[in-house]
Structure formats: C-alpha cells, structure tokens
C-alpha cells in the first residue's frame, strides 16, 4: 500500500514536471497610453479599446476629420465594431481635435 502510494506520488510529480517543461508562457505588459482629456474621450476609450490599445490612435499621423470619420466607419463596416451611429461623429471629432489636424 505504502509503496503504491509512493509510486502514485512519484508519477504525479514526474507528470507535473513534464507539464511545466511543456508549457511556454509569457505575461504581456498592460497598455500604458492614456488619451488627452477632452469632449468625447470617454466614448473613444469605451469603444476603441474593445479591440485594440489606444496607441493605435495616438501613433497615427495627423489626419483631417473626414479621414478619421472614414476610419471609424471602416471599424464598424469591416470589423463589426459595436459603435452606435451617434458615436461615430463624437469619436472622429475627438481624434481629429486632439490627434489629427483639427478640422
């Protein structure tokens, strides 16, 4: 009985060790970017960060509002982003004002 228990314990330990050797794991650092405060920033944070970190916005070149509107529309049409229609303007206005050419 004792020997059998020992055998079971050894098997579990060996299995555990093998399992650890087979597992390759990393932990990603969390996104650190924070958007500038301004009208609409909560809407941008809420919807845009569903699919990607907000540095996807801040690292883009400065584009006019019309370009950002088209980009937000693409997020909805092509990628199915659940952004309500009334928020499209809020989002593109905010990005154009704070990270684009303003108009």
């Amino acid at each position: 009985m004792r020997i059998r228990l020992l055998f079971i314990l050894m098997t579990i330990c060996a299995g555990g060790a093998a399992g650890a050797a087979d597992l390759h794991r990393i932990t990603l650092p969390p996104p650190t970017v924070s958007l500038k405060e301004g009208a609409g920033v909560y809407v941008v944070r809420r919807y845009c960060s569903i699919c990607h970190s907000l540095d996807y916005i801040t690292t883009q070149p400065k584009f006019p509002k019309a370009k950002w509107q088209a980009e937000v529309a693409k997020m909805i049409k092509v990628y199915g982003a659940p952004i309500p229609e009334e928020s499209v303007k809020v989002i593109s206005d905010y990005i154009a004002a704070y990270y684009g050419t303003g108009s």
Partner: protein, 396 residues
C-alpha cells in the same frame, strides 16, 4: 546622455519623453505620431513600441550592424488582440486537413522527425517604412526596423503536405495560427499560398530561430517561413493548415495586404488604384546602418560606412554608394554571402576632407537587375517602401 540602440531620428523624438519620465518618475505620457519609446516585452530586448494590444515592436537600427539579428531583437507584429501568451506542447498540435488523403495532427516531436532544413532569410513586414509615406497613410507607422535577418531551421512544408497526401484538384493551402480576434465579427487572421508555391523546396515550417526556439511573440512553437516574400505570409504560431479545392477568399487576402496592380505597385500619391493584387515578393532595398543618419564625423578622419542590402530572393549583385547626393556613385565592398535570401552587409571607405553636410545615398541591384527608385513610390496601404534613402552626415 546616451541612449543605446536608437537612431538619431528616434532619439530626437524620444528624448523629450524620456526626459519627462526622468523628471517626474511617473508613467510615460501620451506618445504622438512618430514618437517612440523603448519597451521590454517578454523574451525580447528593448524595442521601439508602436502599439501594446496587440503588440507591435520595432527593432532599433543598431542591431543591424550584425549579420544575424538576435531573436530578442527581432520586430514583433500581431494583427489581432487575442494573441497566444501560453502554449502547452503536451496539447499543442499542428493539424493538416481538407483535400488530403490522411488528415494529420502533429506534435512538435512528430514535426521534428521530418528532414531538418536550415537557411538564413530576411523577414520584413510589408509596411516597413510606412511612416515615411507622403501623403501619410493609416497603419503601423514603422520606421525601417520592421525587418531582420535570421537563420531559420525547421521542416519543408512540402514534406508535411506529402505525408498528408494532397488530393487531385486541390488549389491552395490556408494557414492559421493561435491568435484570435477580439470580437467574433473581426475576421480571424489567415493567409494562403497557391499549391505550387506551397510546394516549393524552401517553404519552411520553422521551429528554430538562430538555433533556438522561437520567442512566443515571434510565433512559438512554429511559424511559416516564405523566403523572399513579405512577412504577412509567415504565419506565426501556426496551428492549422487546410488544403482547399478553391482559392482562399478571406479578408486578409481579398481586402488587406493588397497593392495596386501596376508595374511599380504604386499609384499617383493620394489616389485610389483601379485594381489591386495581393502583395507577395519583397522589393530590393539597401540601408546605411553605421554611422547612422545625422551622425557627426571629424574632417580628415577616415571612416568606413556600413549597411545592409537585400532583395526578394534573388541575392544582391552590387551596392553603390554616393557621398555627394547622387552625383557620383562608387561600388561598395560586399561582405559574407549567406545565400540569396539573406541580406548582405556592405562597406564603403569614406574620408571627408571638408567640413559640411554630406548627402549619403546607397543603392542596391539584385541578380535579376531590380534596383531602387530615386523618389518614393506611393500606394494607399503604405507597402513596398524601398526608395534610395537620403542620409545626412555632418562633418566638423
């Protein structure tokens, strides 16, 4: 202040941020277009952060002084937020299914029992250099660090397909990895190769980079290697291969990674192409790596310029250097040849006598005569960047 590993151009952009961090000891502030910050991700060296979720990290140019890019320094580019952060080899399988005689489910050990092959090849993101496009375009704003030269080891895709037995009438192989979309409406990442291409001798399922396992962020445990073609085909954390009877029609082929269907893959800047085709083979490129753009040199002191040159699978025949803005070109000396898919290092002696600003340009020609354009070529997605770069060296 010394910031190793970033170019002067990076430095000018990063220095304000770094100073602010040092002064306040707080989290780094918002980064604007073109700004970069060095970040250390798991199994990676300090790389230039583009985005965090999913991670996109760029290699500082200093690493390209070496013929082989270290695993830790290779750029990182994922498309979809749900990237694999753990892989258990006890349960991981590479499956082959579809139009095959025998569907396969291979462990990594199974895979390693196929004949091992090895070669050195440049891996480069299709959007490398996108940040230089004028007018600018949406997408990852890479400088020139979305590339690297790596010795890949693994098995031939062809051998694995042969084991599965391809049925008559099959046309393409569709590749998927362990990454998943953040929403069910976002198209999962997948790429395909026509069966002829997939069965070329060199297409590899790689399980080693430079003799070691792949970092998870570069596609552990195995990734596809399609030498000569842009990295969009080099599917990371490859787990699923489907042999299909019909051409793949997925988003990442039908809508994304496409270039204008013109001889140069370019259109009038700012315009929309009438017709597009999938991007495939890399254009010819050459870069000055050391001294970096913007460096200061001493008049009368000889210096050796060095850099890298590569092309889409045809090897580099010659590299020429001009130190006077393209008026005179002289051949550079080429370094060790590691084969047609590797980049070659070039060297050029320079002894600037007079103080002033030197416009240094480099131009490569591959073995089938392909070279680089003087002026930038433009396309809406920001691909194929390979113009002759203009570097400034200041002699004092």
């Amino acid at each position: 202040m010394h910031l190793p590993g970033i170019t002067r151009r990076d430095f000018l952009k990063a220095v304000g941020v770094t100073t602010a961090m040092a002064a306040t000891g707080t989290l780094p502030p918002v980064l604007y277009a073109g700004e970069r910050r060095l970040e250390t991700y798991p199994e990676k060296a300090d790389l230039l952060l583009l985005t965090a979720r999913p991670p996109q990290l760029e290699t500082p140019l200093k690493y390209f002084k070496e013929l082989i890019t270290p695993n830790e320094a290779l750029f990182v580019r994922w498309h979809l937020a749900n990237i694999p952060t753990s892989v258990d080899l006890a349960t991981w399988r590479l499956v082959v299914h579809g139009e095959v005689e025998n569907a396969l489910s291979l462990t990594l050990d199974d895979l390693k029992r196929f004949e091992k092959i090895e070669y050195t090849a440049v891996i480069q993101c299709a959007g490398n250099g996108r940040s230089f496009f004028d007018p600018p375009v949406f997408g990852g704003q890479w400088l020139n660090g979305a590339m690297g030269n790596v010795t890949w080891s693994g098995v031939r895709l062809r051998d694995v397909l042969k084991r599965a037995g391809i049925k008559a009438g099959a046309q393409e192989v569709i590749f998927k990895g362990l990454d998943n979309p953040p929403l069910p409406t976002v198209p999962g990442f997948a790429k395909s190769l026509a069966l002829d291409k997939a069965q070329e001798d060199e297409i590899m399922i790689a399980y080693e980079m430079n003799g070691r396992e792949l970092p998870l962020l570069n596609g552990y445990p195995v990734r596809l290697v399609v030498p000569g073609w842009y990295a969009t085909y080099w599917v990371k954390s490859l787990s699923d291969m489907e042999v299909a009877a019909r051409p793949f029609e997925g988003f990442w082929k039908k809508s994304a990674y496409r270039i204008p269907d013109t001889a140069c893959g370019c259109v009038e800047p700012g315009s929309t192409p009438a017709k597009t085709v999938p991007i495939t083979r890399m254009t010819t490129r050459s870069l000055l790596i050391n001294p970096q753009d913007g460096s200061r040199l001493k008049a009368g002191r000889p210096i050796e310029l060095m850099g890298v040159a590569f092309s889409g699978g045809y090897g580099i025949k010659e590299v020429s250097v001009s130190v006077n803005g393209g008026q005179d070109w002289r051949p550079a000396r080429l370094g060790k040849d590691l084969g047609r898919h590797s980049w070659v290092q070039w060297y050029y002696p320079m002894k600037p006598q007079k103080a002033g600003s030197y416009d240094v340009r480099v131009r490569a020609v591959n073995s089938i005569g392909e070279s680089q354009p003087l002026d930038s070529l433009w396309n809406p997605a920001g691909y194929l960047w390979n113009k002759i770069e203009r570097n400034t060296l200041i002699v004092v």
